[in-house]
Amino acid sequence: MKPFADLLERLLYTQSRTAKLPQLRHYFATTPDPDRGIALAAITGELTLHAAKPALIRTLAAERTDPTLFALSYDFVGDLAETIALIWPPSQATQLPGLAEIVATLNSTAKPDLPAQIAAWLDAADPSTRLALLKLITGGLRVGVSARLARIALAEWAGHTTADAIEEIWHSLAPPYTDLFAWLEHRAPRPDPADAPVFRPLMLANPLETGDIAPLEAPLYRAEWKWDGIRVQLVSTAGGTRLYSRGAEDISATFPEITCPSPAVLDGELLIIRNGAVAPFADLQQRLNRKTTTPKLLRDHPAAVRLYDILFDGTEDLRGLPFDARRARLEAWHARNPTPLLDQSPLIEFRTLDDLEPPRANARSAGIEGLMLKRANSPYLPGRPRGHWWKHKRDPLTIDAVLMYAQRGHGKRSGLYSDYTFGLWRTDTELVPIGKAYFGFTDRELDFLDKWIRANTTARFGPVREVSPGLVLEIAFDAAQLSPRHKSGVALRFPRIARLRADKPHQEADRLETLMKLIK
């Protein structure tokens, strides 16, 4: 349990992905089965655990500590699990079981016996292990490691395979993943997913700027709409049906209405479609990140998948075929298997690339983000290969906002104020923050911003500086949507800094009502 606690503690403080990888590799290399597999499940969110309520651990702490001291301590720390981890009276350390044994015991212990069991573990642990235990038990690890990052670490550690190859079998595996580790350590062949409905790595597009389009030869490309939903993969095999997000997360339970009438692996865009019309992305967001769904959500926010591509027809792997041939197979499959919640994303007719400019420029309606250009002869390749698929987004919206707060960056940017919060005028004197951006500027501009922020700081809150209104930033963003969670009532999608407008007086920055008019 201690190595797992050490890993969590380091991951918690590490912001950068590249710095997390050595920590994960080291843990997998030095921790035996089955603990490392259970840890892998815990950090990727695949661990099923009978979680305990915070009230249980609060009661435990109350039995062991002076209430006045606990209240003063909780006040100081601000986090219940951390307060208990730190205030728990030290005792003669006995041996704490490994992570796998703890998880197994948690799942097999009868509810009335749970408090005594947890207390016994807390007695045997040091403070950071106590905190890991309490976070595990109450179900809140939150260490910022995606499943994808964990698979990259596994692949790097093994040295003979790729994260994609692990991804392809991932969903046929279960904790503690001993067969996976055996393969990664050359002790066994790669686990055979057989007919399990596993995820296949997606093919991704490279961005295309308007200037880059001229050299492309129109007859070699096909054009499609780039729908503004989330990219998904629908997999149906003899072993079952799954819906996966772009990051290989199984979201079948979140969208139970999406089924597949016949075995296939399909690539498409998940959208909310009402009476044939695509709803704004904000509507889809209502349904994301939920473990299950409700009848009301299913009724009011009906999901569907708009198909782009077919990877497998039955058990036949089509990924080696050129795009045109796969498109024909997709159309044939769809004709054989008509179903209301799966439709095809149409191809856009064009003769010259100039023909595509008006539809792209006018694409701001109807849930469209822009255009996709795909080479007619490209096979379906994992990852983001150059020269095959291009995404040509509509031009971003822009607004002139005022810099309000800045925060220091991490890693290579750790000495620089590189994260910016900006706002718009609600009245002539009141600025409200509308978003944050931390890219879109050159190193020289970063240097300028950093100096400007230091010279114009009015207050400090930990790593954050408040600055006096004075610097205008031109912010580019893909869309604006209403958001009750933000003070301004609006949230930007994909905001970035387009230009520094040191020339513009800050009083002349945009007003909030201007942004409100851009909401779709």
């Binding site: 403080y13 710095a19 003063l72 100081f76 730190l86 403070p127 290579k412 000495g415 790593p463």
Partner: protein, 334 residues
């Protein structure tokens, strides 16, 4: 015997001993001061006459220049001044740090200054002194603060250095005390590589070395090439580690050595990637143990989280009082 609070009490100018007409660690210049240790929140410049340990006086001279009249006191050497006897005993906080023992007409008060009970190779260890009144600090006076063994924290640091051979570990440490203790702890753990220092840390290290404390190969970080610092350990004041100064380092792992690092929000707020819980102050258990060791029936708390400590000692029948002296805990809050 006069009650202690008739001859020793807090005033706006600081803690005042009336029969001796002197102040202890006064926040503003006074004619006569007795100083516990050389941190700037306890040792201000401008006092006319200063009594302190000779190491504290040396550190104060390096920081503020000489003061007009210095009275160096060895450990246990009594200084009879009017109707008060002043004696210094080690406090274990930093080099030269002292407890001040005041005897007046048969009663004894001990002013702890800042102190710790954990071993420290760079200063003499704290010795408990029996007294009627114990005046204690309370920086970490909550039961959530139990400092782990410093050697274990150094082991975590060295494990990180091994895990990230392509990065530079930069540790935030106060220039007086924490820096030298970290260096000594690193040497005890077998780290014999050169240790690179921010310019502000070098003068205090020199005084430690003059007092016979071995710190090994120290080099200025400022003149080193970025490349040469990869895989090295660099020490800098806390204000520099995540700021412009640290840009000279290659992809730094920002570490901070402080008792506050026990609390995650504190560590995250400072942008720290590797918090090291190493403190030069007594933790909760040490504070309580020390109060019991002195046998004092009355305890005054100079600064820190006094509510919890006063509540806890009241359960043992000890009378507690918060002095709420202003200005302490500012230079080095760790």
């Amino acid at each position: 015997m006069p009650p202690v609070d008739t001859w020793l009490y807090p005033t706006p100018q600081g803690l005042y001993c009336a029969p001796g007409d002197f102040f202890i660690d006064p926040p503003r210049p006074v004619p006569r001061a007795v100083i516990t240790h050389a941190h700037s929140d306890h040792a201000r410049p401008g006092n006319h006459t200063v009594a302190a340990s000779s190491a504290t006086l040396a550190l104060m001279r390096a920081r503020h220049g000489p003061c007009p009249a210095e009275t160096p006191l060895a450990w246990g050497e009594p200084l009879h001044h009017r109707d008060v006897t002043i004696t210094l005993h080690p406090a274990g906080h930093v080099l030269g740090s002292a407890q001040i023992v005041l005897d007046h007409q048969g009663t004894r008060a001990v002013i702890s200054g800042d102190y710790k009970r954990a071993p420290d190779p760079t200063c003499d260890p704290f010795t408990p002194i029996q007294c009627d009144l114990f005046i204690t600090e309370a920086t970490f006076a909550l039961p959530i603060f139990r400092h782990p063994p410093a050697a274990a924290e150094i082991a975590r640091l060295l494990a990180s250095v091994a895990l990230f051979p392509g990065r530079t570990h930069v540790i935030g440490a106060y220039s007086l005390g924490k820096t030298q203790r970290l260096i000594a702890l690193l040497r005890q753990s077998g780290w014999n590589e050169p240790i690179y220092l921010h310019g502000a840390l070098l003068p205090m290290c020199a005084i430690y070395q003059q007092h016979g404390i071995e710190l090994g190969d120290l080099r200025p970080a400022t003149v080193a090439e970025k490349r040469d610092l990869i895989g090295r350990i660099v020490l800098a004041p806390p204000s520099a580690i995540a700021d412009r100064w640290a840009r000279r380092l290659e992809d730094p792992v920002v570490c901070m050595a402080s008792g506050w690092m026990r609390v995650r929000q504190r560590a995250k707020q400072g942008g720290v990637e590797l918090p090291l819980v190493i403190s030069d102050h007594a933790d909760w258990d040490e504070l309580n143990q020390t109060i019991d060791d002195t046998g004092a029936r009355e305890v005054w708390v100079t600064h820190g989280t006094e509510d919890a400590l006063i509540h806890e000692i009241s359960k043992r029948g000890i009378k507690g009082r918060a002095l709420r002296l202003i200005g302490y805990g500012e230079e080095e809050a760790a």
